[in-house]
Amino acid sequence: MMSKFSYSYFMSLFSKGSNNQPSERDDSIELATQRQLIWRRFKRHRLGFTASIIVVLFYLIVLFADFLSTAPPVDYAAARGYMPPQGIQFFKEGHFMSTCEVTGERNMESFLMEFEADCEKSEGISLFGKGYEYKLWGLIKTDRHILGMKDETKDPNAWIHLFGTDKQGRDVFSRTMHATRVSLTIGLVGVALSIVFGIFLGSISGYYGGLIDSLIQRFIEIIRSIPTIPLYMGLSSAFPDDWTINQVYFMITVIISLFAWTDLARVIRGRFLALKDEDFVTAARLNGAKTMRVIFIHMLPSFYSHIIAQASLSLPLMIVTETSLSFLGLGLRPPAVSYGVLLKDAQNVQSVANMPWLFIPAILVIVVILALNFMGDGIRDAADPYQEV
């Protein structure tokens, strides 16, 4: 085996699996199901596999955003504006975990708050402590969070700010957790919608061929030859001001998937063209199966893996689009929190240079986009286990 951090290990991250481990080719290959083969191949794609672990972590944040947050994401307090991140200390003054007490004072020349950490007085932090009340998944009412202050009598907003605070004194860490939830689910809903469009038009196009096929293909080409961001901007700017966050959220996913299904439709059409003359399809047809049954019961399941691969590659694209729109102020608007809304605060270079913690959400966006892309690449390579790379 290669040592963990050697040059060759780093390089092997890029290799698309296969050739380097011939010893694994034993009898089990002949007996394995398609799903097992895909899974094995995906595990050998190290970059993709590592990335998928990171993606899982991000979706855990989506599930437990409130539990991970330390403060309500929209509660502001000007007295704590631009507070730098607070660290956690271990085993100090009888506490297992604690943080330094921070006192702020307004500088009357710059009108900014200046904070001073007094580590002589530490405040205890407890794991699974009490915090603001929320409903887990909209069902279970609780006030437990992963971190809470031991002294429960304190102002709940004065809790630890792991990523500091923004101009209005809102906790950047909690906002990042909530933004992750919003942005990553917008991506999922959008992908689900474009799978519906893509399967519908792609299967018709590939199965019937002929005039319908060329019409749909020209239509797709036209959509692809028009820059989409200005269209999204135009459409989303028309949202009425009195819409609720949920309405805007839903319409944005609809708009994004309205133009994003083309990649998926192309992949599905290609697979249909390749499969429609296979024996099993002819057999189904001769047995009297209706067209819809042939498409959905006989053909589609044979390339689920390709659909999943393409869908996982569209996911980062959707997230980027939503982030861009919200960043321009034409997508989700405050008080909604998404990556784009957070990055708006990081747009002013002067403030970011002085308050670098405002840039932490940007790093998270880059990490999740990269991870999703690498994972998608890995799935795509593993989707067809019989193909030699």
């Binding site: 390089m11 890029f14 020209r218 080409e221 036209i222 692809r224 030859s225 028009i226 820059p227 989409t228 961001i229 200005p230 269209l231 901007m233 135009g234 459409l235 700017s237 028309a238 009425p240 980062p316 980027v320 982030t323 861009s324 960043f327 321009l328 102020g329 034409l330 990055l343 990081a346 747009q347 270079v349 002067q350 970011v352 240079a353 840039f359 940007a362 966006v365 880059i366 986009i369 990269l370 892309n373 690498f374």
Partner: protein
């Protein structure tokens, strides 16, 4: 060959038509119409408009007619009178407001395409010829990262790094003394001095994908028998590679440009906002926020046209470069 051009022409016109439909749709999307906006601006300056006058104005502008007639009137106005409507924000015809910004957007897009070619093709060739070398891995990794990070994030990071390291914030396309003055040699030189930051930021994603495609195509070509023959005849390695396989591998590079163009234009809007460039992007955002719909619709129409025509041009370029399309009968 004529067949190919004719088909692409037909496609181009259908796409242009689709762009006009979408732009018209977006113009009519917000509640209220031209007259509502006009009355609002008049009221802002203190003068009053009564209901009868408003109705007369609607008849005058044809707003009482059904939408499809309004659409034909609008098209007529654009193509016969080159009139895109009136911008309330700027109190000027839309054409006056956007002409220079549109020119700068086109210049930026062309600069980006050239940058993408100049960087991606040589690096792609090196990656393929020296496959599995350190360079190959480095370029592949940078390519992946460049492709995955959205360009406005690259713009934000570039701004931040420039500010922290060199203590200046990059932004705009001109020095202050050249903003809003007529074109001169000094202004062109000033533009060249400023354009490279947005060019690099915007071109990164395109460079990454073109590099990967050049590499993949060249790898396919390198193992073909004609390469071995040429090598056996004693042609020097680099001359051989540049003369035969690279020429073939370049064709997809050109067709990819048509594919990249819409992304480039989309990206230039957001990057334009971040780097505050005098391109159409920031103006489009402002127009949409202020609901200045003729200006917004005009911008969307023109950048849509630009992309579709650019795609057509790159198709024609492909025709010139690739004899298989030029001589083939399909």
């Amino acid at each position: 060959m004529l067949n190919f051009i004719a088909r692409r022409m037909v496609f181009m016109f259908v796409a242009l038509w689709a762009v006009t439909l979408i732009s018209f749709f977006i113009i009519n999307l917000p509640e209220g119409d031209y007259v509502t906006a006009y009355i609002a601006t008049l009221q802002a300056t203190g003068s009053m408009v009564d209901a009868e006058e408003a109705a007369n104005l609607r008849i005058f502008y044809g707003l009482d007619k059904p939408l499809y007639i309004q659409y034909f009137k609008w098209m007529n106005q654009i193509f016969l009178q080159q009139n895109l409507g009136f911008s309330f924000e700027y109190n000027q015809p839309v054409t006056n407001v956007i002409s220079e910004r549109l020119l700068l957007t086109i210049i930026l897009a062309i600069a980006c395409v050239i940058f993408i070619w100049v960087i991606a093709i040589p690096f792609g060739i090196i990656s393929a010829v020296k496959q599995y070398s350190v360079w190959d891995y480095l370029f592949t990794f940078l390519g992946f990262v460049g492709l995955a990070i959205p360009d406005f994030m690259i713009a934000l990071i570039a701004m931040y790094l420039f500010f922290v390291w060199f203590d200046f914030s990059p932004g705009g396309l001109f020095s202050p003394e050249y903003v809003g003055v007529p074109w001169s040699w000094g202004r062109v030189r000033d533009l060249i001095d400023h354009i490279w930051i947005p060019m690099v930021v915007l071109g990164t994603a395109g460079t990454a994908s073109l590099m990967r495609i050049t590499r993949a195509n060249l790898l396919d070509e390198l193992s073909k028998p004609y390469v071995i023959t040429a090598r056996a005849k004693g042609l020097s390695e680099w001359r051989l590679i540049l003369k035969y396989p690279v020429r073939l591998a370049l064709n997809p590079a050109i067709s990819l440009t048509a594919y990249i163009l819409p992304y480039l234009i989309s990206g230039s809007i957001i990057v334009g906002v971040v780097l505050s460039l005098p391109t159409v992007g920031p103006m489009l955002v402002r127009a949409l926020v202020a609901q200045d719909m003729f200006l917004a619709g005009g911008i969307i129409l023109l950048i849509g046209f630009m992309t579709v025509i650019g795609t057509f041009i790159s198709d024609i370029l492909l025709l010139i470069v690739d004899p298989r399309i030029r001589l083939g009968d399909s």
